[in-house]
Subunit: 342 residues, 2 copies
């Protein structure tokens, strides 16, 4: 190799784009490949959705403050979230783990208790996996499979000018939960005798450690005969996801700060760290809410659902991608999201 390009210079999305730019799908059943929350495979009347995530100790989770049962639960949820983000229903998962001899069977059992709890709650079957030893750290790879009626799957790339930009639930709490846990970990490392002070922060910590996937939102779409024009889940942070939808759809957008769904508990907790709740909502990540666009005509179908916020609208691409602050200023949206390689 004559030349060395650092992965960090591309970032995760640049790397994926680079690696997948020349793919040509060979099987007629491969309806949608790389570049969305999940792939879509045609199966004679219904379509199969497939998605996979790799979770690494020290990168995606810290066992110092992550109970293994929660970790098992969350490992499933983050994948189900990608299936729901296609407007599909998850049906099966596979779970592979790599574990060092630091882990006992009882520890692995706790992890799987969480996996099975998520399977039970979401009606999903664990149908396979792989188990091997690792030299260091806990490695988790989950693949989720789901189904969707033909052509009801929703991509990221199909938002239309004039559509409303919407979001389920509330944003930023998981990030603030992480700040608390990281702070307590530091205190513990410096003074092991000090008891953790997480009193009253159950909401934000729960959002980090035990997120849920948006089955309710997908069920609501079905019941309301509403099909979003574009959709993805919020894992890296709202700003980053908005830019994905805009870029892949070739559109602009305007988002209103005052419309961002922020939970009172998150706001209170953010102020303890003297940080701006809006910044947490925009850049926090790990919310596992759904970000989606709908035709304006469908607005009436939304109004009775208190779990869904209209946060802006899709514009012509020449208008750019902006957020209008409560003070009336307009700023370009930038992805402060997580770059795994920096």
């Amino acid at each position: 190799m004559d030349h060395r390009t650092e992965i960090a210079d591309l970032g995760e999305f640049g790397l994926i784009e680079h690696l997948t730019q020349n793919i040509e799908l060979q099987n007629a059943s491969s309806v949608l490949g790389v570049g969305d929350d999940a792939a879509v495979i045609d199966h004679f009347g219904k379509q199969t959705v497939v998605t996979t995530d790799l979770l690494l100790e020290g990168v995606h989770f810290d066992l110092a403050y992550t109970p293994l049962r929660h970790l098992g639960y969350k490992s499933v949820i983050v994948n189900l979230s990608d299936v729901y983000a296609m407007n599909a229903t998850p049906t099966q998962i596979t779970v592979s783990i790599g574990i060092s001899n630091r882990f006992s069977l009882e520890a692995i059992d706790e992890f799987y208790e969480g996996v099975y709890a998520a399977c039970d709650k979401y009606g999903v079957d664990l149908v396979g996996g792989d188990t091997c030893s690792s030299q260091k750290g806990f490695i988790i790879s989950v693949t989720a499979i789901g189904e969707v009626a033909t052509d009801k799957f929703v991509k990221r790339s199909t938002a239309q000018i004039g559509d409303l930009l919407c979001c389920s639930g509330d944003l930023g709490a998981a990030y603030v939960g992480l700040l608390f846990l990281e702070r307590e970990k530091q205190i513990y490392l410096e003074s092991p005798q000090v008891q953790p002070d997480l009193e009253g922060e159950q909401y934000v910590i729960g959002r980090l450690l035990k997120p849920e996937a948006q089955k309710n939102t997908i069920d609501f779409f079905e019941a309301s005969k509403l099909i979003p024009t574009a959709m993805m889940d919020v894992s890296d942070g709202l700003s980053s996801e908005i830019l994905h939808i805009c870029k892949q759809s070739g559109v602009g957008c305007t988002v209103y700060e005052e419309k961002l769904p922020i939970h009172e508990e998150m706001k209170r907790a953010a102020f303890k760290f003297e940080i701006d709740p809006t910044a947490c909502a925009l850049s926090g990540g790990e919310d596992y809410e759904l970000l989606f666009t709908i035709a304006q005509n469908d607005y009436d179908k939304l109004v009775l659902n208190e779990q869904i916020s209209v946060i802006g609208h899709i514009t012509d691409p020449v208008e750019g991608r902006h957020i209008v602050t409560k003070g009336g200023n307009k700023h370009a949206i930038t992805a402060q999201g997580w770059n795994a390689f920096k």
Copy 2:
């Protein structure tokens, strides 16, 4: 946790059995779950097969002697092998990688060249994946999806008394290839100026570094209207796989040493290490051949295929699981296979 059970005391298969003993499948589409080469999912007229494997640097591969291009190729092959082992045709894969900043983009490109080469050769589409940074080492997780006509999939648990036990290709060469590469690595570490001496060992080294999956064998079954009664791929070693089929089918078997398919190059290479080629064939692993059983009535369909060897037959379970040596002695078959946790 009051009690600590070491994972090593269970071994990989004991651990999987332990973790999956209480699974009850909830979705009607989950035809076959954990416990075979792949899961089977019903999709309205055809069935979908799903399998996944986790490959870890330092555990499953050593980059000191594994070119990244070969590693990419092999990562796909080991999963396709599991799909073929269900008598199914692979159609899609997802590939997730975790990489440390030790790897350049050029290195990752080499890996993906191998992935795409395998996709091309086997007519499979790469439809998704995940890319993240790892703190240490190269982590690969591949999931393969395939399809099979309803009820044509072949499990491990359905071998019948009287069936012939058969194997594709030849066995043990990959293991001997590994011995050469490990020996040269040691010499290099001790005396970096010495050039590696792998002259004439292309066959065994090729079997390790660039295995192929048994598409030809599955195509032959289709063309011959032959459906094996039970099947699995040989990844951990022939003995280990024979015991899986016998245990899951509740049967015994007799295998004949003189019938084991051993390549002349493997035999010659094994003698250089003063080891018994039969032991390599029985316990080597990583052959990615197919081990299967057929009804005696189907024997005529096999005779013209030189790639398939009949190595024994299935017996009543009370007769145990034995190998008859060339000298006429009878030994119980034991799994010397790989225990990932020791």
